[in-house]
């Protein structure tokens, strides 16, 4: 019998104490199967799926703030594959198999994902076993058919981009299939997290994906604070949001230009590049680092905003607000540019929903979700902002979402500066005397980032999982380029701008 809701599955499980803010329950295989059916039927969204010793954890959202973590003991190192019924889980299961040696029974894809066969060790986070074998060849999917040819690109690309491999099957100029191979920048971050003290763990979290260093710092800090029931001084809460919006602005501005550049329109790129630089300089002045790295720590901030910071940021948003409308008009009015972006790389809203695609990728395909609003976190509950969404799902729609979000972030920055509370910015949390667990979901510029953490009695991290929004976006890029011409791939790719490092970890 299928359970009615996620709440039913959670109520049927055995609650795990010391987990916050949402419940974690140990389920039996039946509960795991019920949850898998909820996902398959589209009645819940997969937020994460990760290994932990001999356990698998699955985070799901059943609706507004109806969030929970289900844990299944993998007897004999095996568990029923979620991916066999719900595709978004496939790669997560392959990754957990590589790292922990946990076998997803029924997952149709037996190939490794992050493990390229050169680590010298198998299952580094499970029961590590030394290996000496040379890297085995990776069997790409085969394509047979009249007139089909394959194009292999990467891992090193012709440009200043992260490494990954793309295998195109094309019929003449038209892409019939794209298969991604990732994992090249796997650094073993979750392995380094285990046993790290909070300072080091926060630094590692801030280096999962450099473009989202603020969002990751925030997500990690919030997960620890949820685990420890730690309070954060109001001023720190508001300054964190200020940094998060500056990071969003910098990325959106830079990427809008990069997308236009890939559509052979350099003028936009030139302008947004300057605006992005201005954001980084103001951030540097206000917070002492251009990307605002290592500023957010569990309990608050490493330091207060500099004295001239608020004025510099006000001048910045005034300048962007002055220049940006002309750039939007330029985008809107340049037919040669819109010719390239409209109806290119269209993501079907049903796919965006199935994958729970976050950020502009989801919102440009009708998925009206934003972690700042739901599940929500302070101070956004006290701020006015719109979450733009569109239906077209093409490169153009993703550009427009970015454009509209720039405007929203400018408004948010002003609201925050107007109401910035006084007071301290750090309250060092005292480590609890026993094991604690916490989870946080934070909206980075690219979408929702999930961090789950368990700390031990010594206050150190025992296990930390960090799930980048790209996990649920990379597979969709494969889908959207089908039927597009090979020459439009860079444009489609840039309009997604998935993180390699965030995904590979």
């Amino acid at each position: 019998m299928a359970a009615a809701t996620l709440t039913d599955v959670i109520l049927a499980g055995a609650p795990v104490p010391h987990h916050g803010p949402w419940p974690r329950v140990v389920v039996r295989p039946e509960g795991w199967a019920d949850a898998t059916e909820l996902l398959a039927e589209g009645r819940a969204t997969l937020l994460g799926l990760w290994g932990d010793g001999g356990w698998m954890h699955m985070a799901l959202a059943g609706g507004e703030n109806d969030i929970g973590v289900l844990s299944l003991e993998c007897v004999g190192g095996r568990y029923p594959s979620v991916g066999q019924r719900h595709r978004p889980a496939l790669r997560l299961e392959r990754a957990a198999r590589d790292l922990f040696g946990l076998e997803p029974e029924g997952n149709p894809d037996a190939r490794p994902w992050l493990d390229h066969g050169v680590w010298g060790v198998r299952h580094p986070l499970g029961s590590p076993a030394k290996t000496t074998d040379a890297a085995p060849p990776y069997p790409f999917l085969t394509a047979e058919g009249e007139g089909l040819h394959q194009i292999a690109v990467g891992p090193v690309h012709a440009g200043i981009i992260e490494p990954g491999h793309f295998r195109f099957t094309a019929n003449g100029e038209t892409i019939v299939r794209l298969e991604e191979r990732l994992g090249y920048v796997h650094k073993g971050i979750e392995g380094l997290m285990a046993g790290a003290d909070l300072d080091r763990a926060a630094r590692l979290a801030g280096r999962v994906s450099g473009d989202s260093t603020v969002a990751y710092g925030l997500a990690f800090a919030r997960a620890v604070e949820a685990a420890w029931h730690a309070d954060v001084p109001p001023r720190a809460v508001w300054l964190r949001a200020l940094m998060a919006e500056l990071e969003r602005l910098a990325n959106h501005l830079g990427d809008i230009g990069e997308i236009c550049n890939d559509a052979a329109f350099a003028l936009m790129h030139a302008h947004t590049g300057v605006l992005r630089e201005r954001v980084l300089r103001a951030s540097d002045l206000a917070f002492g680092h251009r990307l605002m790295r290592d500023r957010i720590v569990p309990g608050g901030l490493a330091g207060d905003i500099a004295e001239g910071g608020p004025a510099a940021i006000r001048a910045l948003v005034d300048e962007i607000a002055r220049v940006f409308p002309a750039l939007v008009e330029l985008y809107d009015d340049t037919a040669s540019l819109r010719d390239r972006t409209v109806t290119t790389g269209t993501l079907d809203p049903a796919l965006a929903l199935e994958y729970g695609a976050g950020g502009y990728v989801g919102r440009a395909s009708g998925r009206d979700a934003d972690a700042r609003r739901s599940p929500g976190y302070p101070p956004y509950d006290e701020l006015a902002f719109a979450v733009p969404s569109r239906e077209a799902g093409d490169v153009d729609a993703r550009v427009w979402i970015r454009i509209e979000e720039v405007t929203e972030s400018l408004s948010l920055v002003r609201q925050i500066l107007d109401r910035l509370p006084a007071g301290p910015v750090r309250a060092d949390p005292a480590p609890p005397p026993s094991i604690r667990e916490g989870m946080a979901i934070v909206e980075g510029f690219r979408g929702d980032i999930l961090v789950w953490v368990r700390t031990g009695a010594d206050g150190r991290v025992e296990r930390c999982h960090l799930r980048d929004p790209s996990w649920f976006q990379w597979p969709l890029l494969e889908a959207v380029v089908e039927g597009n011409i090979v020459a439009d791939f860079p444009l489609c790719n840039k309009s997604f701008n998935c993180s390699y490092s965030g995904h590979d970890l």
């Binding site: 680590w119 200043i160 992260e162 302008h271 300057v274 330029l330």
Partner: protein
């Protein structure tokens, strides 16, 4: 959009925007002066063709390399440009702790770059693995895989420091 607006946008990018020419980095000049196999590595001309290789970066270093191309740093005015193939490069600009999964690709890119060639390791990770050192998935600094001529420190190094490091490579005294 009217032609007036377009003119305005074009004018907005005119020279006063551009950062003044910075001095080459002293630290970089010293490191270059101390390099032993200089003769073997050959000399550079008045321009640099750079091939970037991300060998495991968090992508933070890439953001600041990108910034060099904006109208403020405008790196092409120094004869420094980024090229799409190692075959056209005389400098490899490598970021990240070298991951085991990227070792072979880095080595191949190095091998595909014609002599004379220079390797610049950009960022704290590229020096010694940074905060990823010790991971079983990571080899460490770039010099563990290919010989490095110049390190540029930072996490990530700001564009002005990257520029000063690259300008040191172009100094006649260092070649």
């Amino acid at each position: 959009m009217g032609p007036g607006m377009l003119r305005l946008l074009l004018k907005g990018l005119a020279p006063p925007l551009t950062e003044p020419v910075p001095a080459p980095s002293e630290v970089a000049l010293r490191e270059l002066a101390g390099a032993v196999d200089r003769a073997a590595r050959g000399t550079l001309g008045r321009s640099l063709s750079i091939r970037h290789v991300d060998a495991g970066s968090c992508n933070g270093c890439e953001l600041e390399i990108h910034a060099l191309n904006n109208a403020i740093y405008n790196i092409e005015r120094f004869g420094i440009r980024f090229v799409a193939s190692p075959r056209h490069a005389d400098v490899l600009l490598v970021t990240g702790p070298v991951t085991k999964n990227m070792r072979e690709a880095l080595q191949r890119t190095y091998d595909a770059t014609p002599h004379p060639k220079w390797v610049v390791a950009l960022g704290d990770c590229a020096r010694d693995g940074g905060c990823f050192a010790g991971s079983p998935a990571v080899i460490g600094g770039v010099s563990k895989v290919v010989p490095v001529d110049l390190h540029i420190a930072g996490c990530p190094p700001p564009p002005i420091e990257i520029l000063r490091g690259l300008l040191a490579l172009l100094q006649p005294g260092t070649r």
